[in-house]
């Protein structure tokens, strides 16, 4: 398991909607080692404030050593990140954590909600590369409204998978939840469902998977200081009654290992 602290040059900053951005970084060591579902810790500035790196799932990597993150401006760190310019150098640490465990012989349903869409592009790419037959695989993307989904759709179309789209307000695709679209599929226990999104979404996805005896992997979020198992800040309770750590044992977990509210 190789991890790198890399000085990455920003090659592109795209504003995809009012608050959502995509950053492309030249980061050959990290992008070369990364697997779908893993994350990086990025220092948003070199000053003492904000102090900590921020965790971002890897949106996608490319063969020429580039790595992308997709994020929303929610606070000081992401606000600084949204203002970086092409050519600037950022300190990136990764790849970190355990990514998705792709089941080669199982048809896939990839579900991304809101910012949870971020790691799913890398996953869809990896699945299509690993599997010879993707004809039974699905991608479902959802968000509160159009701007959370539409800007990313073209990137997902390239794989030729069946694509379902949903927004809460109906401004784009199906009006409702990604779980409505999941339930509308002819589900059977052979499917593996890979999901990332808000906690209530993942809880509902898991409960559908559970009743359909489908395997379900989820990528969860947590605050963390180090991203590598030193601070122990990113604890999450498991069904066994012990804490697990999102940075080391996740961020991708088998949903059945975790406790879900509601």
């Amino acid at each position: 398991m190789s991890q790198y602290q890399e000085k990455a040059t920003v090659s592109r900053v795209e504003q995809l909607s009012a608050k959502n951005y995509r950053l492309t970084l030249d980061s050959p060591d990290i992008s070369g080692a990364a697997k779908a579902g893993q994350f990086v810790m990025i220092r948003t500035g070199l000053a003492k404030d904000p102090l900590l790196r921020r965790p971002f799932s890897i949106h996608q990597t490319s063969a020429n050593g580039q790595l992308q993150i997709y994020f929303k401006v929610v606070g000081r760190g992401t606000d600084m990140l949204a203002r970086v310019k092409a050519g600037e150098i950022m300190s990136v640490f990764g790849p970190l954590g355990r990514g998705f465990r792709i089941k080669k012989n199982s048809p896939a349903i990839i579900i991304g909600g809101g910012l949870g869409i971020a790691p799913m592009l890398f996953l869809a790419k990896s699945i299509c590369r690993l599997k010879t037959d993707c004809s039974n695989d699905h991608i479902i993307l959802g968000g509160r409204e159009r701007s959370e989904v539409e800007p990313l759709v073209n990137d997902f179309r390239q794989f030729g998978l069946r694509l379902g789209l949903a927004t809460d307000d109906g401004s784009y695709g199906h009006q409702g939840y990604v779980t409505d679209l999941l339930k509308s599929l002819e589900l059977h226990s052979e499917y593996t469902v890979y999901a990332c999104g808000p906690e209530p979404m993942m809880a509902r996805v898991y409960s559908i998977c559970k009743s359909g005896s489908m395997q379900c992997q989820v990528s969860v979020e947590s605050v963390m200081a180090c991203g590598m198992g030193a601070c122990l800040g990113c604890s999450r309770m498991t069904k066994k009654g012990t804490y697990t750590h999102v940075c080391l044992n996740g961020p991708v977990f088998n949903a059945e290992e975790l406790i879900w509210n509601s």
Partner: protein, 316 residues
Amino acid sequence: MEFVDNREDIFPDLRVNIGSLEIANPVMTASGTFGYAREFENLMNLHRLGAVIVKGISLHPRPGNPPPRIVETACGMLNAIGLQNVGVDRFISEKMDYLAGLNIPVIVNILGDSLAEYREITERLVGVPGVAGIEVNISCPNVKKGGVAFGTDPSMAAAVTKAVKESADVPVMVKLSPNVSDITLVARAVEDGGADSISLINTLIGMAIDLKTRRPVLANVIGGLSGPAIKPVALRMVYQVASSVSIPVIGIGGIETTEDALEFLLAGASAIQIGTANFINPRVSEEIVEGISKYVVDEKLPSIRSIIGGLSINDG
């Protein structure tokens, strides 16, 4: 072709003495910020460290606090990890072999709820290969009983020191809490209790509130503040303690750069510990060793020891 002028200034004298323990350079990693060292093996050269202080160990395993356990604050962070650790027996059987093989001094941070617990952990560590010292945590603010009282009451602090010292077969360093009105009273008490050295400061107790939910951010309500925000307080306390005891002092608190480390040495610290900065740059401690080395060469110092306590105070 250019040749490097490689005389002894390539290997400047960085050795410092922490009582009977001589370490190769004054840079240590602080407990709770460096795991059990192995987490960092691919990210830095562990052999460059003066010493490694491992995650605090209790007699029995502790699960730690519910999340959220950390929150970033201005120039710092609050943590309420809750002393999560594997317990002394698993520490010895699972972690110590690797640590002993590093060939750098390993200092084991210990914590307990009672004098008997401190004594028992110390006894279990007697004779364990690779343990070069014990650091006694009497100051962690996160556990509701025990910890706080020991660190804030001079007589209790002395009693813990004595209990550990009586059982230990290695030098004992006592880590002080800054959450007291006069830290020199506690420092002198642990010196009288037999401590071989004193490290300070542990985290300052703090709090963060989420205005939207009107709730504390940390599930534990309060947590320990660390990072560059606390450096001035730490420097002041190191200066005060170094001026009032005769045993070596190890400075901790917000050290992120070589300059920070050198300031602590001037204030009277014989060595320093890097804490929160490990989270941001896992290689920072090695970089500070390199920086101190360069400083000794550039300033043509006979050794790094020559600046310890070298602060000039003009009373005029």
